[in-house]
Subunit: 462 residues, 2 copies
Amino acid sequence: MKSHSESALLTDFYELTMLQAYFAQQMNETAVFEFFVRRLPERRNFLMAAGLEQVVSYLTGLHFSTDDIVWLRESGSFSAPFLESLRDFRFTGDVDAMPEGTILFQDEPILRISAPLREAQFVESRVMNLLQLETMVASKAVRSVMVANGKRLVDFGLRRAHGAEAGLLSARASYLAGFDATATTLAGALYGIPVSGTMAHSFIQTYARETDAFAAFAHVFPDNATLLIDTYDTEAAAQQVVRIAQWLQEEEGIRIKAVRLDSGDLGTLAYRVREIFDAGDCGAIGIFASGNLDEYAIQTLVEGDAPIDGFGVGTRMNTSADAPFLDCAYKLAEYAGQPCRKRSLGKMTWPGRKQVFRQYDAHGLMHSDLLALPDEDVSGEALLRPVMRGGTPLYALPALSDIRAHAREQLARLPPALYSLEPAPKFPLEISSGLQALTRQVDEHQRALADSDRQRWGLEAG
Amino acid sequence: MKSHSESALLTDFYELTMLQAYFAQQMNETAVFEFFVRRLPERRNFLMAAGLEQVVSYLTGLHFSTDDIVWLRESGSFSAPFLESLRDFRFTGDVDAMPEGTILFQDEPILRISAPLREAQFVESRVMNLLQLETMVASKAVRSVMVANGKRLVDFGLRRAHGAEAGLLSARASYLAGFDATATTLAGALYGIPVSGTMAHSFIQTYARETDAFAAFAHVFPDNATLLIDTYDTEAAAQQVVRIAQWLQEEEGIRIKAVRLDSGDLGTLAYRVREIFDAGDCGAIGIFASGNLDEYAIQTLVEGDAPIDGFGVGTRMNTSADAPFLDCAYKLAEYAGQPCRKRSLGKMTWPGRKQVFRQYDAHGLMHSDLLALPDEDVSGEALLRPVMRGGTPLYALPALSDIRAHAREQLARLPPALYSLEPAPKFPLEISSGLQALTRQVDEHQRALADSDRQRWGLEAG
């Protein structure tokens, strides 16, 4: 049995009603769709592409099970021949995409699918669902990476992520964006991300005395215990940790690795705890902080030189709480060789297949992007790369560690104004002369067709 | 093979490190945890409980596979005897919970788990992950239900929900809160929710002429075609629909059911389209609206008497965009018969097992809640009901249609001030004298223990 996340029915119902209409009309010429973000969220100077690996996995595994087809039949909306055609339905198309970890901006295609119409249309819902989630989270997480100044960042967010897949893929997206580890065990097992975790307040509370809990945990993890010290009184607990640490070290050679603060004024508490530890000959015990953290809180703590060695970042990162969705779209750019575009109010798109060409300045920093036709004679680094041809991946996708390295290199090439939590001027995106000319042609062509359509029905031309 | 959402490893790593410490100390007395929301989001006057069915399914299916245990062994953090103990690890405890669809407020336990310590602790991450997602979405979706005035509401949000499970469970949560249908096909197959869907802009664009697309679709769905009319020019398309509808009706007996508007000023456009249809003898064609909708936009349209028959509500509902997480917690209330509470700054909890007793006024409307000890002699309706005993559900959980009916009844009993998008005064929550007395006892007990702990380590009492 397929899991829910792999089911072909994990799609908007309209994909299937459209497919039935295309089937009835025998329409299946090559269609080109592009996925892009229409507008960056207010608090994002750039986005980071993520989710391609999951999209490729979805496309290569896509098929309808017998149960799927039985359910569709019972829904009563579909013809028997159409349902029969779904038995052999597979993705046989081409994919070009920005490598994961690539920095991008609004109106830039992150992924392009070119496939027989029914396939290219059908995959819309899940392709968007995957790309928007991971790109959104990577783009949020990288902001903590920018301000953490190399301090350790751990994803703590499974419990308030939106379900199982959100927990898993936000662990993946934050790791590729530069986080160091995750608390989500299954993300370690699935993606090889280092896992991290120690104790909850409930652990302290199940012991009559706080120090009994500390000692018990240290005995079980003699090399790497991180003790949570804010359950009752943080400074009092820190003083107790000093005594216990000395005793454990002398009696049994056990070393407390760190403590965790999870509430209160983390900067002030960290400073007091550091003083207590240093005065008590516990300079080697680290301080880890968590609790309602986001990139702004981390920036304040880091800029204030709070003696904190690492941060657990959860809910606000995993849910991208200040921008919990991207204004993204998967739009038809070409059908049967004919470029097209939508002109709905506020949602106009550029027609035809497009490529993003990136220009760098003399220092190797990103200077501007050019949206152009793929075969146009322009300069710059082409960001969309071939990924699949004829339904088959062209190569093994990069390991997560390589994606992470690519993301790091991308960050290093960001102009300083964009490498900041402060809103920056929009990164320049130029439109090539070829694309502008094509847009005029498409508009004229569509206008002529629309006029003839209206005349056919006895209406005045537009 | 288990799916990711069913894996025992879908948990925070610290649950496992704590379990190993408990195992080493042979600690496994009965622990009581309660899940509650500390503070309502700013724009929520109440919450609606959802997710219990998924929690019960998780608890009854919980076990470690051999692969899980192999991976944990290879992680290097766990002892062989502890890993061996996980082979027989099952949930054998008790669950009490508010029925799904119940309206609740801050500081009120939605679910209580009473189980051997290791089980009650271990399930924390996934129980929170499920309850927070569905309760958050139901609590958002019901706001659209309150203002829609009976007009049809359809969940459109899969594409920008946070992954597969978020798409599925937000379809479920919005349906139980009063939505009428979902566009997410698999949610129809899994939960029996009516599915709905017609066409995308790309469908229009694959045809040279808009009216060809309209006619093609209507031929395939002769009884229930909903045509998307904003791809190029909404009013022009409406005029074309009038001509086509007449022709299709006369020639082939085909009836256009509705049109959909997805951009622009929906109220104004709906009014214009309605005029065009009524003038063209197409009074029976409905108007459906979508595009960036939330409860505020729906309220404005409904209050303005926009001639719209139904709404597609997506992203902002499924992600609960104005409050994309709940400040919720799963806290230890009692261990080995000893009530306890956490006193971390800003995160204090009430100790011991608790029950919510609801008082109603003479009209049957909710008047106030009382947080009390379960066996305290107080009046009111007890909201937490027995669900599982000894790891086994006590009865078949209610069908989604029954949950939906319960949600509707709950809404009908809301005081008028809370049945509003406007911020309302906080619903009264009283603390019983029994709970207040217990809290004093627990604090005194913990203070005495803390003092003795500090004296043991040669520190001054707090």
